[in-house]
Every structure is written in C-alpha cells, then in structure tokens.
Symmetry: C2
Subunit: 435 residues, 2 copies
C-alpha cells in the first residue's frame, strides 16, 4: 500500500458517512486543506436521486445517473474512500463500528440522507415498492414490466385489472414525476409494444393525503401540475389516507378500494439514522437535531447535514426541506466550520439560500417557482432539464442523459424498458433491503 | 384483448424459442407472410452478446446492448411475443410446456443458443464466473470491483494477492477481449481510482488449452493478438489445462497454481437444449443434429438454428462456428424454407457465407481476417467498432454506445464502474442461475 490511513502527520481525520449531495460537497471543499478525509458509503457510486424515476420507468439507464465516488476525488491527496456499511457510532470513544472494522475519527460528519417512511405500516412496507436507490428503481422497473407481461396472458378479467392499475402514493415531486412518467409510458410505449392490450384498462392513480399535490410549492404550481396530470390521464385523488394494502387492493379513507398489484410508495421519508446517536437528539421524521453549525445536539464533534439534519428555526420550524441544495449548502458551510474549529476561530451559522423549486410532469410540462416568479409549461420543462443536466455529476453522464432525452423527445420512445433482473418479493436480498 | 393467439384464419403457427440473432432474423423475415409467429424468450429483450465483455468491465451500460423484443416487431401484424421459460417439448403432440401454460405449434424453431460449458467440473462451475448474459456480466462487474475494494483494506499480503490476480480461462474471442479490457482497466482506471494500490500487484492471466489463442482465426491474427496482449501486460499461458479451482487458487497442468479470487470462465459452450429432443439428435457440445434445412434429426416439424444447431458437412465436420452471422443466415434461410414447406415447394439447403472474423484486444488493437485478407492494429480496430455499431439493434443503442466509445477514447476512462447490485455467491438467485 503506497498510502495508508495512518495519520502520519497528525492531521485531524474527518470521517464522512454517505456520498450523496451533502457528503461529496463537504469532501470536495476539504481538498488541499490540513485535514485527512475518509468517505464511507455502502455503494461505490454517488446516486443522482432526482432522476431515479426515469430509471424506474425505462427512460434512462441506471449507470447514467450514478458516478463512481472514487473518480470524483481523483487526485485529491488527503482523501480516501472505503465501501462499507456503518453499523454503530460510539461518540464517547470517537469510534465508528463498520463492516470493515472499527475506525477512529476526530470529527464525524453524517450525511446518510433519508429512507422511505412507511409510518410503521408493515403490510404496506412489504407489498409496495419504494424508490430511493438505484436497485429499488430497477426492481420497480422490472415489476411494472413483468406485471404488463403477465396481464397479457391472464384470462381472468379481475386479475388482469389488478395488474393494470398503477397506484402512486404521495403527491410530492417524486409522486408527480412518477405518475406523469407512467402516463407517458402508457401513451407512447404500451400502445406500440402491446397491440393485444386494451389501453383503456390501464389506469394510473396518484393518491395524496392533503388537499393538493406539490404542497411545498406555490398554489399555481400545485394547481397547474394537477391540471397537467389530469390532461395526461392520471386520476389524482387528494384528501385520501391509505388505510392498508394487502398486495391485492389498496384501501383508501374516502374512496372505494382500488384492486392493484402495483403500489409505488413515495409518501414519506425518514432520516437514515445510525445507531449510537443519543435518542434525545432524534426528532420528528427520525431526523437528527443540530445547531446552526450542523453540530448534533449533545455531541461535540459529530455533525449531520442534508436530509438527515433537523436545524429548527423560526423560518423553518420543521427543519429545512429535504432537497439537494440544502445538503450541498450545508456541506459547504460545514467544511468551512470544521477548518475554523481546527484553527480555533468562531463558527459561521448556516443560512439557506433558497433558489427555488421545480417538478416535471411530462413532455413539455413542468412547474417552476423561483421566489415570486412562477411559470409552467414548455419553458419550465426546458429549465428543469437544463438544471438537472447541469447538476448531474460527470461529463459522460451529462452527455449520455442528454442524448437519451433528445432521442426520446423525437422518437416518443423509452429505450430501456428491459427486465434485466426479474423482481420477485421472495428473492429480495440484502441488495434491496439495504439498498 | 384486441388480438389473441387463436388461429382464427387457420394460418400455421410458428413458435420461435429464443430472441437472439437467429430467432429475431427468422421472425423478421416472416413479416407479412401467411403464417402466425409467436416468439418466446425468458427475457423481454434481445442481448447483443459480442459486447457483453464491455458491460462486465465497466465500459458500457447494460441497457445499451439490449433491445426490447416487442419493439423490434412493432407493427408486425402476425407477430406475438411472450416472456416465458420453455420447460419441455412434446414432439409427438406438437406441444410446448412453458411457465405460462401449454402451447401447441405447427412448426417449432429452436434458437436458444448456447450456455457456458464447464465440462462437468462442478467446483469450477461453482467458483468461477461465466459471462453469457447481461445479469452474468453485471455479476462479473460487481465481483471484480468488490474484490478491488476488498484488496484495499486487506492487511494480509497473501489474501490481497489472490484478490488482485485476474485469471481468464479460454483464449477464444471472449477471453481475448475480456483480458484485454482488464488490462486497460488496470492501466487507465485503477491507477487513478486506487492511488493507495500498488499496481504491480495486479496481474492478469489468460489461460488457453491449445498452443495458440484465437485458434479459429489465421496464424497471423493469433500471433498478433498474443503480441498485443503481452504488450498490454497480460500473461498469456498456452498449452495449459485447468485441473481445478477451489475459490482460492486455480491449478494448471503445466504451471504453478495461481492464487486468485477472480476466475472468468470463457473456455467453452454447449447447446441450450430443451428437454424432449430425442437423445439421438444430440451430439458433441450438446448441439442438436440438423439436416441441411436445419430440420432436427428425427423430428418432422422441429428446426434448430444458430449456436444450438450442428449441421455437419465436409466443410464443417463439427458444424458451423457459433457466431452471429451463422445464426442470422440460418434464420433467413429457415424463414424461406418454412414458407416453402407450407407452399409444398422444394427446400433450399443452407449455405454459409463466411464474411470473416475479428476480435478486439484493446484501444487501437484488433485483428481482422476477411478471406485471404488479414490485417491488425488501428485500422482493424476501427473496422471492428464500425461493424459492431452497425450490428447493434436500435438507433438509440447505436447512438449511446457510439457516444460512450468516443468519450472513452478521449478520456481514457470507463464510466460505469459501478457496483449496482452487490454480488455474493450465496445470494445467486434464479436471476443468475437461469440467466
């Protein structure tokens, strides 16, 4: 080994757990600084989560929205990466227990993001499909396509019906984008691929608990996205709680049950907390309470950033939204503060610069809020595509995604409707369970 | 269902098993003919096998070398597709037993190709990695990358050594291409991604049983490819039989055992025969004996094409080579003959037009034989790329592969070195086993 993790020059070791938006920003900003950085992740790649729904619906290849973590830090002398599962934190000993052994840190930055929240409903967790990682998106893709193949051969009308009803739960950006993408899959792909299928039997539902979809955006964005979805044939059902799902039919609070084999769950997230964080520091949605410097409550040298962190303030009484810009900005601010701690300087409180939010519904249909400026439609769609392309890590990914989008735009096709690995609930292994 | 498989107009039903090169060519050539065509495959996509090694070594995305089978036959009125596993043939009843029920055929065309042949060596089958399907190529990719990650953290020199020895068995085109790609991965990617790794410890071996690699090609191609490989740092060991592999070290007949965790098996294939074919019709390498019209020996209306078929002749005493052009030409010829059988015309014997063969070793290094014309090097490499791009099914695939190749050429990088799903021998499910 030419280089080891031994801290030969006594520089403080900062361990970052999680190679999402926050983790990589933090590690990048520590380049050429007088610290050693060790990044841990269970995957060897960074996932561009905003485009997972396109992988799930056959629009993009999984490899296009992932980027090798080691590559991001090519040439960064003070950086190391280890692919591992972090099992427990021992704050008093400053030690992390991992699948590759115990690691001692000087400073620990938790950037593990969030997991799907089923709110304790075990049956829903068992039968519905989450979509927070690439393996999960691929499982979802396989399941959708397998159910279509099965519908073709089913003689039993009721069973066929359940295979052809697609129910997306949760009207946030993910739910809106997913149900929109399914509507396009139906219109442009199923019509060609399955001439023997009566398309009027294929139904797409979007279920939302509150009275509007995209509730975190402006009223205009919310209304227009609903209009777009309905125009595309999605049945949007608001004010509905999901009472249960047994793998055959989904029960709703205010509407008849919908028989379905396809329930896509995007109704909530919870912080991906690692064992060992004091329970007093864990708040609503399993997020970790942090001060204005992202320091975990009650832990001197442990920090949490991004989706995982709950930094409560007057402006954000429930913490910041779980979006990439918050994670990136917190990563950047924390890098500065860690260096300031070492230099014994005073710390800089985090301040979120909200650049706006957006969601896409389908071809030529997106909604954008930038401060007081709101627009929807074709231009919003181009803005959405541009921003997502630019945020993708890696030139190859940008290029391949761009080529795919241009090709899809003109061909109305989705190239990658492939069942690379069959999905079966019984064969869900640690891959899927652990993401 | 708007359209069923019921043969309302009494046209003969031709069932094709397998959507490889032969199967799709046959089905295409039956377009607008007075027959019904039903294509069965366990996958919903066609796999472009010649580029599997690039998926395994992180050069291409899996989705780029696969194409949805239903899409190929878009608008072909007399065509249906079913994703299913064929379990048994009952020739006397003209029935196929499948995972979606029994299917009655008038004519049956078997185009199931070949599987990896371990020549009955169970331990090798258990511990080594084959590469005949996309899931297998992805498993291989994951295993290679996981072993690199593990090598980084291993303190034990011997264990590290075994993780960093890569042994490819079989000096045919697949073995040559795979070992060449590994050499490039080492040179251009590992050096950047793993600065802590001593590259001199990474060794790549190509093991061949006969006295030369690419034995089916010209002496020139064979010698030059060996020169290229050695120039790239691959240890080519000829005249070596593999005596055994226990997951720790591979034993060779004429050289010391090589400690290794990475054995890639491309040393042989056997026909993917379905139960029910008379045993007299099965010959060497588990291929099915066919007459000059590809009719299975002893079966009036069952045909076999491509890798699966053994059509023995003076020129090809062991049958034709197992390459795409044979499968394509046999598919084309069989389409004609099936129509001639129906019209009660005399049949056209199959004649193989050998357009040549080629293999690539690495960047700017390929070997091409076209009849008496032989060339190697940069121009051969461009010819290889052009022919493979043109043969890829689908415009999107051509475009995405082209973009990837151009990008790799200038960046010396391989974009997709991602462990999307962890590989573990214990979690090999039906996915892997059944491909």
């Amino acid at each position: 080994m030419k280089k080891t993790l031994n801290n030969h020059n006594h520089q403080p070791l900062i361990i970052i757990v999680g190679g999402g938006f926050g983790g990589i920003e933090l590690a990048k900003k520590l380049r050429n600084k007088p610290v050693q950085v060790l990044l841990l992740d269970r995957h060897n790649y960074h996932t561009f989560q905003p485009l997972l729904y396109q992988v799930a619906t056959g629009g993009l290849e999984p490899d296009s929205i992932a980027f090798p973590l080691r590559r991001i830090f090519k040439g960064q002398e003070n950086f190391s990466f280890r692919m591992t599962e972090v099992e427990q934190i021992f704050p008093e000993k400053q030690v992390l227990k991992t699948s590759i052994g115990d690691l001692k840190y000087d400073y620990l930055a938790l950037a593990t993001g969030s997991d799907t929240n089923f709110f304790g409903q075990k049956a829903i967790e068992h039968y519905s499909m989450p979509m927070k990682s690439i393996p999960e998106a691929l499982n979802l893709r396989s399941m959708l396509l397998q159910n279509l193949e099965e519908a073709i051969i089913k003689q039993d009308e009721a069973k066929q019906h359940a295979l052809l009803n697609f129910v997306v739960v949760g009207g946030g950006p993910t739910g809106v984008e997913l149900s929109g993408a399914l509507a396009e899959l139906k219109k442009h792909v199923l019509a060609n691929d399955y001439p023997e299928l009566d398309l009027s039997k294929v139904n797409i539902y979007l279920i939302e608990g509150s009275d509007k979809i995209l509730g975190a955006m402006s009223a205009q964005a919310s209304e227009k996205s609903r209009f777009f979805l309905e125009e595309m044939g999605v049945n949007v059902l608001c004010n509905q709680r999901v009472l249960g799902y047994d793998g055959e039919a989904i029960e709703l609070s205010e509407a008849p049950a919908i028989p379905t084999k396809n329930v896509l769950w995007s109704a909530g997230v919870k912080g991906a907390v690692i064992e060992g964080i004091p329970s007093e520091a864990i708040t609503r949605g399993q997020r970790i309470l942090v001060d204005e410097y992202n320091r975990v409550q009650g832990c001197a040298n442990i920090f949490a950033i991004g989706d995982l962190a709950a930094m409560l303030s007057d402006q954000y009484p429930n913490g910041h939204p779980g979006v990439a810009p918050v994670a990136i900005q917190q990563g950047k601010n924390l890098a500065q503060n860690l260096l300031r701690i070492i230099q014994q300087k005073s710390l800089i409180p985090f301040k979120y610069h909200d650049k706006g939010s957006m969601a896409t519904v389908g071809r030529n249909r997106a909604v954008v809020d930038i401060g007081k400026i709101r627009f929807q439609g074709v231009f919003a769609w181009f803005v959405w595509m541009f921003v997502h392309l630019m945020t993708l890590v890696g030139f190859r990914n940008k290029l391949v995604v761009f080529v795919n989008w241009v090709w899809s735009y003109f061909s109305y096709d989705r190239g990658t409707r492939l069942i690379i690995r069959r999905f079966s609930r019984s064969s869900m292994t640690e891959d899927t369970a652990a993401k």
